[in-house]
Amino acid sequence: MKLTRRHFFKFMGAAGASVAALPSSASAWESKAPPDPYGCLVDLTRCVGCRKCEEACSEVNGLPTPERPNCQCTIFEKKRRPDEKAFTVVNRYFTGKLDAFDNPLPTFVKVQCMHCQDPACVSACIVGALTKDETGTVRYDVSKCIGCRYCMVACPFEIPAYEYHDPITPRVMKCTFCYDRISKDGGIPGCATICPTEALTFGKRETLLKVANKKLKDNPGKYIQHVYGEREVGGTSWLYISAIPFDRLNLPVLPDTPSPKLSETIQHSLFSYLWSPLALFGVLGAVMSKSNKTAEKQQNKGGA
């Protein structure tokens, strides 16, 4: 365990140089959201719970036909989540609202990947199998995936699902925003195409935000004055407006800070250009060389 002085100084030089080159911008976190993404505005007051979007989704994405596609009678009795066989599901909530005849009025809520502006899953993915595309789509590349499921841990909306029963080649399954369709000119996601009441409006996110805010302004009594997804976790491509508070519809209350901000800030301020490991290496090297020298001296003294 001999650390020669020459080796040591050579190394310290390298470490010092990299510390000096430490970029000042390393600690300032910047959003990587695409400038003009597509989005989808869900107007929950318009949704009639026909579940045609589920049917269209499964057809477009080659998934199994949803359970009881034509029978809405029992399907709403349990709350469902998107899973590996269904990228989107509609749930029914009775929130105590009554119609003119005192019958409880249901609110239907479609759930799917929100396609966050700064997605936690994309930041988390160890191999970059998940990416945020220019169209706003959060895309999944199965050829890179190793199946660590960190994306599922990271997602604040609990969206990515996993093919747990495939032993060798399981995939992460989630809404694709019909990328193959919307990346073509005039393409519309399957669910938005079929929606009979246009509860789903597809378009540029900027435009949809304007439409949503105008609707809130024009109908102050009808809507909760909040566009869900405008600022949640830094904004999402899918936006919701509703007459019922969102937290009662299982849309979680979330901070405005993008999920990856804290971890990415820590990672990049500590590890950009590996400055801190190199610095630590240098310090430890210095300590080691010093302690070895004093030990040698003591030995020499003892020997003398």
Partner: protein, 398 residues
């Protein structure tokens, strides 16, 4: 006094018990690779990480911290008094990390794709950094362990059968490798410490990306710092626990002259961890949750009370530090506390916000974890029996 192979009886009843767990684990692993993860685990879309990540990986990494903390103490800070414990600590680290990787291979869905992070980099991903560090560190650990193997077999390589033709070659590799490593080992020792600091802390950063999913008692921006300081604090206690178990199982004398001063360092390191943990709680005001009385908050109270405060207070007493049982009890509490902390962060404190989800590991999951731990202990026993790892000054009785 040098470390030497123990050359004691290997097959004891305890070893057979381990063998039973190993077989059960092997069966569960076969089931996982034929029926899928869903076939043997209780994992779900709401709960993608369970026992395997919480225990096999996170706890495994934390408890293997003895390797780098002893190396730092003995080799870098030059406290040569502690050199006898570096080898068993190194062995624990080598085995610990090997089994972290084995555990990962079982847990990730596409085990055959585990090499892909080397090609596809996502430098924003905390997990990417952890994976890279663990991978490099595992190799560093193997390199650090090489001299121990060389020491045992140099000059007496005796391969069976046809392989005996290679005796000379292998012997040469051992000799040359040993000679080269002797010159440059300092690089690997420092590198080991640096890599450990990096991924021990980053393991805590893993959960920072999910602020709404981890219970506020654990979710804090200083989670990486807490992970790092707890890794520092658990390193020596882990060495204490394992050497005590090993020496008493082999009926050897405990090295109290080393272990007692080691606990004094632990008081300091554990104190820092305790200070940060309580300070963080006070600053963020999360103490309001302490007495909620649900299983999550109770788990936190147990972790803090029995895993940190109690052993710390115990070690303050001179009498405890000089008693073999005292040190062992305190060290076990610390090890248990840090293990519970990792389990809390990755399993207990993880609350999927939308689905109602109660998770308890399935029998298959438990079998795999227990099987891996049993295999680790089995190999540890095998290694100390046949390789110069433990320093065995004198035997208590034969």
């Amino acid at each position: 006094m040098r470390a030497r192979p123990l050359n004691k009886k290997f097959w004891t009843p305890g070893v057979f018990v381990m063998l039973v767990f190993m077989i059960a684990g092997a069966i569960s692993i076969i089931a996982r690779f034929t029926g899928g993860i869903g076939y043997v685990t209780n994992l779900s879309n709401a709960r993608p990480w369970g026992l395997w990540v919480g225990v096999d990986v996170a706890t495994g990494v934390a408890l293997a911290a003895g390797g780098f903390t002893t190396a730092a103490l003995a080799h870098i800070l030059g406290k040569h008094l502690y050199e006898p414990i570096t080898r068993p600590a190194l062995l624990t680290a080598v085995l610990g990390y090997t089994f972290v990787v084995l555990g990962l291979l079982v847990d990730i869905g596409r085990s055959w794709a585990i090499w892909k992070p080397m090609v596809n980099w996502n430098t924003n991903s905390v997990l990417f950094e952890v994976a890279m560090c663990v991978m490099v560190y595992l190799n560093v650990l193997y390199i650090e362990f090489f001299p121990i193997i060389a020491e045992q077999f140099k000059g007496r390589v005796n391969l069976p059968g046809l392989l005996s033709a290679l005796n000379g070659l292998v012997d040469m590799i051992l000799k040359i490798g040993d000679a080269i490593l002797d010159k440059i080992m300092w690089i690997f020792i420092i590198l080991g410490v640096v890599l450990s600091c990096m991924h021990q802390s980053s393991l805590g950063s893993l959960m920072l990306v999910a602020p709404t999913k981890l219970h506020p008692l654990w979710y804090t921006p200083i989670l990486p710092l807490l992970f790092l300081t707890s890794a520092f604090a658990v390193g020596y206690p882990m060495v204490v626990v394992e050497t005590t178990i090993a020496t008493s199982s082999f009926k050897l004398d405990a090295e109290m002259n080393i272990l007692t001063p080691l606990t004094r360092v632990t008081i300091f390191l554990l104190g820092i961890y305790l200070l940060l943990k309580i300070g963080d709680m006070v600053v963020r005001g999360t103490y309001v949750y302490l007495f909620d009385g649900n299983y999550q908050t109770n788990s936190f109270v147990i972790e803090l009370l029995f895993g940190v405060i109690m052993p710390w207070v115990m070690l303050l007493f001179e009498r405890v530090r000089h008693s073999r049982t005292g040190i062992f009890t305190a060290a076990s509490l610390i090890v248990g506390g840090v293990a519970l902390n990792r389990i809390n962060v990755f399993i207990v404190g993880y609350q999927p916000p939308l689905s109602e989800n109660v998770y308890f590991p399935a029998p298959g999951e438990l079998m795999v974890t227990l099987g891996l731990i049993a295999t680790l202990m089995f190999i540890y026993r095998f290694a100390v029996t046949y390789l110069p790892v433990l320093q065995a000054p004198k035997e208590v009785s034969t």
